[in-house]
């Protein structure tokens, strides 16, 4: 394996709100290889969108990177200025499908003009070359190329989203960040968008970082995933490894909390409590208050991200990319098995065997 395209290394991001500060990301690390699709998963507010913005140097004004590194092709970019980001990173290298992308198009600017503006800023393509490329991209996402000069308000919601995807693709970036690309869409629409994303994979060799709270989308479209809880990376690795042997309690519970259409009678797991609000870099496991197997130690030190070697399914146990941040990582799977065997009574009370058909 070569050097990863993108490496995030012990990244900590803080927001200043009035007198106090909030730590949104706390010592997070993960990496993405050329052509790899990675899913970044977590609840709302866990810091996943913040990381995406940081990769593009587009944090809100009150946010700043306190420590850690972001390496793009080996170069440290975390301290780049706005101009450096414009020149070296944005859109040519890393492009982003923002959250709520339906509202991301300027309503008083024709879409093609936005494309020209982007091309003008990052390439020396002529006007007609740029438009040709953009038409191509329009076709990939299933829009009529003849409509590129229309205003966004002349498009339906789904079409706007696709137009944004076209804008993201047409300069052929190395990495595409998709921030909740399917949230708020109906399943059929979601499926359409996911199909376009798969199509991008066939037609380009971009990498993708897909941010979502929906692990089923990640399991379907991504090669690897990174699970975050309240600013910390809990577990990262190939999706199959994480599916087969989840090692962080959060991921275990999350998997069981997620409804699966194939097993409508399965009992859903409940994750009690809420993630803590961090005012400083976390020096404890942020999942401690919600974890059924927490011990005192968990609240005394932040767990390091370490390879899961002992039960690696992928075969090469020595250099596993499956990593987890849990000090009880060797015991937890066992405990989970036991718990599942016993069947557990949740805080909701009542029997687990519902009277469902």
């Amino acid at each position: 394996m070569s050097q990863p395209i993108l490496e995030v290394d012990d990244l900590t991001i803080e927001f200043q709100t009035g007198e106090s500060s909030i730590t949104a990301v706390s010592d997070a690390s993960f990496s993405i290889e050329q052509g790899e699709y990675m899913g970044l998963v977590g609840e709302s507010g866990c810091g996943k969108s913040t990381i995406a913005k940081a990769l593009l140097g587009a944090l809100d004004k009150n946010g700043r990177i306190v420590s850690g590194k972001i390496l793009y092709e080996g170069e440290e970019i975390q301290d780049f200025t706005e101009e450096e980001f414009n020149e070296k990173i944005r859109w040519k290298e890393i492009a982003m499908i923002p959250q709520a992308s339906m509202n991301s198009l300027d309503p008083i600017q024709p879409i093609s003009r936005k494309a020209l503006e982007i091309a003008d800023a990052h390439t020396d393509l002529s006007k007609s070359e740029a438009l040709d490329r953009f038409k191509e991209a329009f076709e990939i996402v299933g829009l009529q190329p003849s409509r590129i000069s229309e205003y966004s308000f002349q498009f339906s919601g789904g079409m706007r989203q696709r137009a944004i995807i076209a804008l993201t693709l047409f300069l052929r970036p190395t990495i595409v960040i998709a921030d909740e690309p399917t949230t708020a869409l109906d399943v059929i629409m979601q499926d359409q968008v996911l199909n376009y994303i798969k199509k991008i994979r066939e037609e380009t060799n971009s990498s993708m970082m897909m941010i979502t709270h929906d692990i089923s989308v990640v399991f379907e479209t991504c090669d690897t995933m990174t699970v975050m809880h309240s600013g910390q990376v809990a577990e990262t690795g190939p999706v199959t490894d994480l599916y087969d042997s989840p090692t962080h309690p959060y991921l275990m519970l999350l998997q069981d909390a997620f409804p699966d259409i194939r097993y409508p009678n399965r009992d859903l797991e409940v994750i009690d409590g809420y993630p803590p609000e961090l005012t400083d870099k976390a020096d404890f496991c942020t999942f401690v208050d919600r974890c059924p197997w927490a011990v005192d130690e968990c609240s005394q030190t932040a767990p390091r991200l370490e390879s899961v070697t002992d039960r690696s399914v992928s075969g090469d146990g020595s250099d596993s990319t499956h990593k987890v941040a849990c000090i009880r990582k060797d015991e937890v799977p066992q405990l989970n098995e036991e718990r599942k065997r016993q069947g557990r009574t949740t805080a909701d009370g009542g029997s687990d065997e519902g009277d469902l058909p």
């Binding site: 009035g18 593009l56 587009a58 004004k61 009150n62 706005e82 980001f85 414009n86 020149e87 990173i89 944005r90 859109w91 040519k92 492009a95 982003m96 923002p98 709520a100 992308s101 339906m102 509202n103 991301s104 198009l105 300027d106 309503p107 008083i108 600017q109 936005k114 503006e117 982007i118 800023a121 990052h122 205003y151 308000f153 002349q154 498009f155 339906s156 079409m159 944004i164 804008l167």
Partner: protein, 332 residues
């Protein structure tokens, strides 16, 4: 709807509105109690004189004939005779209209330019002391009665510092000299500028807060929009981003501009009275005191027409800036 059609439709609507306002005002004044004839009676004029007066002014004709006559006269530029001065109304107000206009239009426009710039500076400095307190003095001045702003200016700059005259457009001693000049030459003289500065400042300061506040809110809102973020991450230059933001943020300011232009009319009357400025507001106040109906009625029509036309202009400008208005949004 095509743009051209949008403009044509708005033009027709505007002409129709003008007619409605004209007609409404005509009947409004016909049904007012206490007009000039009553005033004559109250002052002890004998009924025969009043009858003769009514005869001469055609007040005994059926209403629709009066209406028709007035309507045709207005179309041909004849707004009737002032009862008090026995002079054509048009002759009495034409220069006055310009005197008012030269006060209000540059005053408000300047306030909007200044306010927009200041507002966008304040808006982009979110959370700073400037955002918190920078706009307060403007709101204060904006809440003052217009005549108070003027009076404070007079006290400070005329009375204490002795820099500017307290009233008038031309010093009384030089009236005759100026009467010789072509009308436009009067406005090009230093004498005029010297008199102009204080009332102009009063208008500007009084109406500075609204554009500032709207621009501030607007810029904050636009910066929070999805497309602002998108512009940023697509890596286009700062200057281009600002241009996009400014175009959006200016939309609400443009909408409010004619509202200020029309709302300022009330304030303008007061400012004219304080400075004894020979404008339409002063004319109206004098006419109202003696119930000189032809003048009042014509000034009212001017005010209505002014409001209607200002709104029309804004719609046109808006239609050019924002295609959603003129092209019309449709979901594909």
């Amino acid at each position: 709807m095509s743009r051209a059609r949008f403009f044509v439709v708005r033009s027709i609507q505007t002409v129709f509105l003008l007619w409605v306002a004209f007609t409404g005002l005509f009947f409004f004044f016909r049904f007012m109690p206490g007009d000039f004839t009553n005033l004559m009676l109250a002052e002890g004029a004998n009924p025969d004189a009043v009858a003769e007066f009514e005869e001469r002014w055609g007040l005994n004709d059926p209403l629709y004939i009066q209406y028709w006559r007035y309507f045709m006269n207005i179309l041909s530029g004849d707004a009737g005779m002032s009862i008090q001065y026995r002079r054509p109304v048009w002759d009495m107000v034409n220069t006055r209209i310009f005197n008012s206009f030269i006060l209000i239009a540059p005053g408000i426009t300047f306030a909007y330019l200044l306010g927009s710039i200041y507002g966008s500076i304040v808006g982009t400095k979110r959370g700073s002391k400037l955002e918190e307190f920078g706009i307060l003095p403007l709101i204060f001045v904006g809440s003052f009665p217009a005549f108070v702003t003027s009076i404070i200016l007079v006290i400070i700059f005329s009375s204490w510092l002795n820099l500017f005259p307290t009233s008038g457009m031309i010093s009384p001693g030089r009236q005759a000299e100026f009467a010789q000049l072509e009308w436009y030459q009067r406005y090009l003289s230093l004498e005029f500028v010297w008199h102009f500065i204080l009332p102009f400042t009063a208008v500007m300061f009084r109406y500075l807060y609204l554009p500032t506040m709207i621009m501030r809110t607007s810029i904050v809102e636009v910066m929070g929009q999805g497309f602002a973020f998108f512009h940023r991450i697509t890596g286009i230059s700062k200057r281009r981003q600002l241009a996009h933001l400014a175009r959006h943020a200016s939309l609400p300011v443009i909408t409010v501009y004619p509202i200020s232009m029309t709302r300022a009319l009330g304030g303008l009357v007061l400012i004219e009275v304080v400075f004894n400025w020979p404008g339409i507001g002063n004319t109206l106040v004098n006419a109202v005191m003696v119930r000189d109906l032809p003048i009042i009625q014509f000034v009212f029509f001017l005010v209505a027409a002014y409001i209607i036309l200002a709104n029309f202009l804004v719609d046109i400008v808006y239609g050019i800036i924002d295609p959603r208005v003129s092209v019309g949004a449709e979901d594909a």
